[in-house]
Symmetry: C2
Subunit: 362 residues, 2 copies
């Protein structure tokens, strides 16, 4: 708590960087303090917790010499200014979702998820062994940022609806709290996308100002209580077959960081990222049971809705690709990788999973 108070006290002063300058003499393990600001509030304890876990890992690996202080949205900068705060060196590092920054370039979407894109394991494979991370870092590099993958929330749900959505016609005029690329696709199907901060979603759904809202998945959604006012819980969130987070690091600060500390950041981020997915898998499975027991009505999106969304996605992406070479490079890479992955996935993983699902239902 004192740290937060200190921060507020220092708020008027120049707080560009709290890093303790390394002495001119090369020192492989200097005392160092960095700041990490995240887009995710403490209430999203899985995502926020990954930042705490990372900071602890770095301290544990460096014998407490390299300390990272974690700040939530609004403590240093607002949630959606994390990328810029890192680029400007207001903080040395930040945790955010790449697709929050599609205003800069729609290509940013590929760092998190695109509609009908990769699933969680495919995303990890693409980033590490499909050239994905390299192409993304070329993009981030033009903003003075170096990105390290920081964990995946897994396939997300399609959101909470006040009424059942039985066909494509039911989407016309529907006010849906949904952001980013999904909003752009869905507007082609007649939906009116709404941008509403998390804290305002519940009253908007209750009053009927909006008809539906998507958030993340069972564990995170449960806390916002949408169930009471919009009980139809649709799946899958085809715009987020996975959602990958990033740790963004100021490129100049990264270059200055002793190699030993660079190794710690890379290795700890890899461990924290894997842990995040394990945590989501464990918690979501328990949460969906509680939600259904409390009255959530699970509904799959109909095939005509999925097919029309798939078509609209391909049309949008073809249009953007024709004009934006950075987008096209990432799109072509993602889609080629996705198609090859699903050709394999259908053989072994899907056959195994589908058999197990059939047995457990029986």
């Amino acid at each position: 708590m004192n740290r937060r108070k200190l921060l507020k006290t220092a708020a008027g002063a120049a707080v560009a960087s709290t890093a303790i300058a390394a002495p001119a003499i090369a020192q492989s393990a200097p005392a160092l303090r960095w700041r990490l600001t995240t887009s995710f509030p403490k209430t999203l304890d899985t995502l926020y917790g990954a930042c705490d876990m990372f900071a602890k890992a770095i301290a544990d690996l460096s014998d407490q010499k390299f300390q990272i202080s974690v700040y939530g949205p609004g403590e240093v900068v607002p949630a959606f200014q994390v990328f810029d705060a890192v680029a400007n060196n207001t903080v040395e590092m930040g945790n955010s979702a790449s697709y929050y920054y599609i205003g800069k370039d729609l290509a940013f979407a590929f760092g998190t998820a695109v509609p009908f894109g990769l699933n969680t394991r495919q995303m990890n494979a693409w980033l590490a062994y499909g050239g994905g991370l390299d192409v993304l870092n070329e993009l981030y590099g033009t903003f003075g940022i170096y990105g390290v993958p920081f964990g995946n929330t897994t396939a997300q749900m399609g959101g909470w609806f006040r009424k059942e959505i039985k066909s494509l016609d039911d989407l016309k005029g529907l006010k849906f709290r949904v952001g980013g690329v999904a909003g752009q696709v869905l507007s082609r199907l007649g939906i009116v996308p709404q941008q509403i901060p998390p804290g305002d979603i519940y009253p908007a759904l209750e009053k009927g100002t909006i008809d539906a809202a998507e958030w993340i998945g069972p564990y995170d959604d449960e806390k916002l209580g949408f169930l009471k006012v919009a009980p139809y819980y649709y799946y899958p969130g085809w715009w987020e077959g996975c959602a990958n987070g990033f740790l963004y690091i100021n490129s100049a600060k990264w270059a200055e960081l002793p190699k030993l500390y660079q190794n710690m950041v890379t290795i700890a981020a890899g461990q924290v990222a894997a842990d995040l997915t394990a945590k989501y898998d464990a918690r979501n499975a328990a949460a969906i049971k509680r939600l259904v027991a409390a009255g959530a009505q699970l509904r799959p999106f109909s095939n005509d809705i999925l097919d029309a969304s798939f078509k609209a996605t391909n049309e949008l992406f073809a249009e953007v690709s024709a004009k934006n070479p950075k987008f096209k490079a990432l799109y072509d890479s993602t889609i080629a990788f996705r198609n090859e992955q699903y050709q394999w996935h259908q053989v072994c993983e899907a056959t195994y999973d589908n058999y197990m699902i059939r047995r457990i239902r029986a």
Copy 2:
């Protein structure tokens, strides 16, 4: 190469431990050399490579002070004596598959995979957040070993068959190179399980001494060339919906290890484990394409075979549970976790994956 020669030169001498003794005065980062022996040969470059990657990570995190030398099967001990070599402190650490040691207790199977068990992500979630690792470490602890998860090969294929297997009757008398728990289940269906070292499988298949052989998945299987003599490539390997590897550490050596180095081991193993799965996903997808192009005939196991195998598995596990409380504790934990996971998986992940598979086929 010199390291290997040195090892052979020293082979007659006492080589119980090459660790440089830490001075009596507490020292958080002493110079230290440990040995890691793995069950997996260099030809399995994905698995062996994980050991090299781990050793490099530990060196990189410790400013080269903590060095780990990696040895393949036969260099220090044979492949299936890794666990005992660690328990006896012949080496400080080893990499192996828990189910190689079901001769000690069938409960060891749960550390790798059991028939109709967890998939890859579910295994990670169970180990970290389902209590799985704690229960496994109680078991390993009775042998003086501490285990750290070390990566998953993902769902494995069902193996290469000389002839098509169209129904349950085709299994009767079939000589199948398959090990462990799967062999015990399959023998209840009339199969005659065979234990053959990797290098002898190809000639045995060619001569017809055996009718079929399972190994791992497309990337690893491709190298052994089974395609030419047993072209029917069956899926899924329902006895390995995933296959988790372990890093085994001598408990006394672990207790002596400075906390700083313990942190490095835990965090680096987590990163290496996640990387292994990403590597398998990328490589298997490319390999299955090559195998099919070269003539591999993909075949799913028929439902009557899967159903009979599922039934035989449940019967075997109920029998063992009645006599073996350690097995029962791990079985009950695994199955409860699996059932909850698949109830969630069927909603979001499977619906998304199955839709994508349908689109990509179209």
